[in-house]
């Protein structure tokens, strides 16, 4: 390459990037991600609607009592629903925060409703406080090590929820918090409610006293199975791999009411494997 090309190339590479670039990119990423979610959200709620209908039809056919009960309830979902009570956005130099806050609306069981709603809002408050604290610390560290504070890349936090199962008997939803700063990390909180008994469901309720042994064996088998594919890698037992579910193991119920055990990214497998989910079929006789 001759001299004048070298010069021209150098001038091009010397085009100065403004300090606002980081911030502009981060907020554009957030806006784009939001747009994408909106598009997919429409599709998701459509398919959830269809699945609910299928589930509904099945129950009506198999249970005369249910059919009778439904005839008196004009709209399914009057008994319990999850509603969005707050939706807001915070945007400043340190962080971009997007929150869609759910609340439970249970007809007739205000105690349970209140307890869960308080827990959700306390949890979100705490999560956001911690995130703000962390954003401040990260920014301070960035400036202390010689970074220009105007170039600080804001932390992006998004809080959202997804309803996993909603039937006459069960209501299951998952609250997620995603924090993005160079790489993304999501935390999950699940809520599973037995509408008829009016309380939260535990794995013990579903699988009996030996629920741990039963579930552990099923997960171990499934890990074995998935590891047949060389693309799937799990941590080895004894080196951070799966040994047993926790006492307060996270799970949700899918549309059919099957419990799904959830492990966060890095919990039992390397990061590229993402979040790991294990559906555990319920025992036949229950």
């Amino acid at each position: 390459m001759n001299h004048s090309w070298q010069q021209a190339r150098q001038r091009y590479q010397e085009i100065e990037t403004p300090p606002e670039l980081d911030f502009a990119v981060a907020s554009a990423l957030r806006a784009g991600e939001k747009k994408r979610r909106q598009r997919r959200g429409v599709r998701r709620s459509l398919s959830a609607g269809l699945a609910a209908c299928a589930c509904f039809a099945l129950l009506v056919n198999t249970s005369p009592t249910f059919a009778h009960a439904v005839s008196q309830v004009p709209v399914l979902g009057d008994l319990a629903r999850v509603i969005t009570v707050a939706q807001y956005t915070v945007e400043d130099q340190d962080h971009l925060i997007d929150v869609r806050l759910p609340a439970l609306d249970l007809a007739g069981d205000t105690d349970l409703e209140q307890r869960i709603n308080t827990e959700i809002s306390t949890r979100i408050d705490q999560v956001l406080r911690e995130a703000e604290e962390r954003a401040r610390e990260t920014r301070q560290a960035f400036v202390d090590t010689g970074g220009d504070s105007a170039e600080f890349m804001p932390i992006v936090i998004s809080v959202d929820y997804e309803i996993k199962c909603q039937s006459e008997q069960f209501l299951s939803f998952v609250l997620t918090k995603t924090e993005t700063h160079a790489s993304a990390y999501t935390e999950y909180y699940s809520y599973n409610i037995d509408l008829q008994a009016g309380r939260e469901i535990t794995l013990r309720d579903l699988f009996g006293d030996h629920y741990k042994e039963h579930i552990n064996a099923a997960i171990a088998r499934e890990i074995e199975e998935r590891s047949q594919n060389p693309d799937n890698i799990y941590f080895i037992q004894g080196e951070g791999g799966f040994t047993s579910i926790a006492d307060d193991q996270r799970f949700y119920l899918d549309q059919d009411g099957t419990p799904v055990i959830v492990f966060e990214k890095y919990e039992i497998a390397p990061g590229f494997m993402g979040m790991q989910e294990f559906p555990i079929p319920l025992p036949e006789a229950r």
Binding site: W5, Y12, T17, A24, L29, G32, E33, K35
Partner: protein, 162 residues
């Protein structure tokens, strides 16, 4: 999988934001307009991430969006040239004193020709990649490159062979 793709794309964009800004700036010649172009391209890319089927084409796929945005702004902006950026040299005459340096001469090319030159010589892209970015076939890219180099030679009066 979808989530994974979105994250890959986010990481790619964050890592290469300065290159995107430079390419946008080389067209629009204005800081705020260049920032706008980068932002609009990112929003478009993310909201259409589902149309990116194979991740190995992420780079050319994103550059295509960025280049389109840059050219749109460039065309709109041409009718409104701020005073300080009015090109100081008139069309080249035979007089060697009026000749442009190579960097300034590139701005005299058509937007498509500018793209080929910048992507090839400043971003080190292969001709196949440039074809994907500009949506032209390989032969068109080759002849555009040849034509641009000839024009640059006339504009600078120099041998600009590479």
């Amino acid at each position: 999988m979808e989530q994974h793709k979105g994250q890959q794309l986010t990481e790619y964009i964050v890592a290469h934001q300065e290159e995107f800004y430079r390419l946008a700036f080389s067209y629009v010649k204005n800081r705020d307009a260049a920032l706008d172009v980068v932002q609009e391209s990112i929003v478009k890319a993310l909201s259409r991430a589902d149309s990116l089927r194979q991740p190995q084409y992420m780079k050319t796929w994103f550059y295509r969006i960025l280049l389109n945005e840059s050219m749109n702004h460039y065309r709109r902006g041409k009718r409104l040239v701020p005073l300080e950026t009015v090109p100081d040299a008139p069309a080249p005459t035979g007089d060697p004193a009026d000749r442009l340096d190579l960097y300034a001469a590139i701005d005299r090319l058509s937007p498509q020709e500018q793209a080929v030159i910048r992507l090839r010589f400043f971003e080190d892209m292969k001709l196949e990649e440039i074809a994907q970015v500009t949506g032209a076939n390989l032969n068109t890219v080759k002849s555009r490159l040849y034509k641009s180099l000839r024009k640059l030679r006339e504009l600078t009066g120099e041998e600009v062979a590479t």
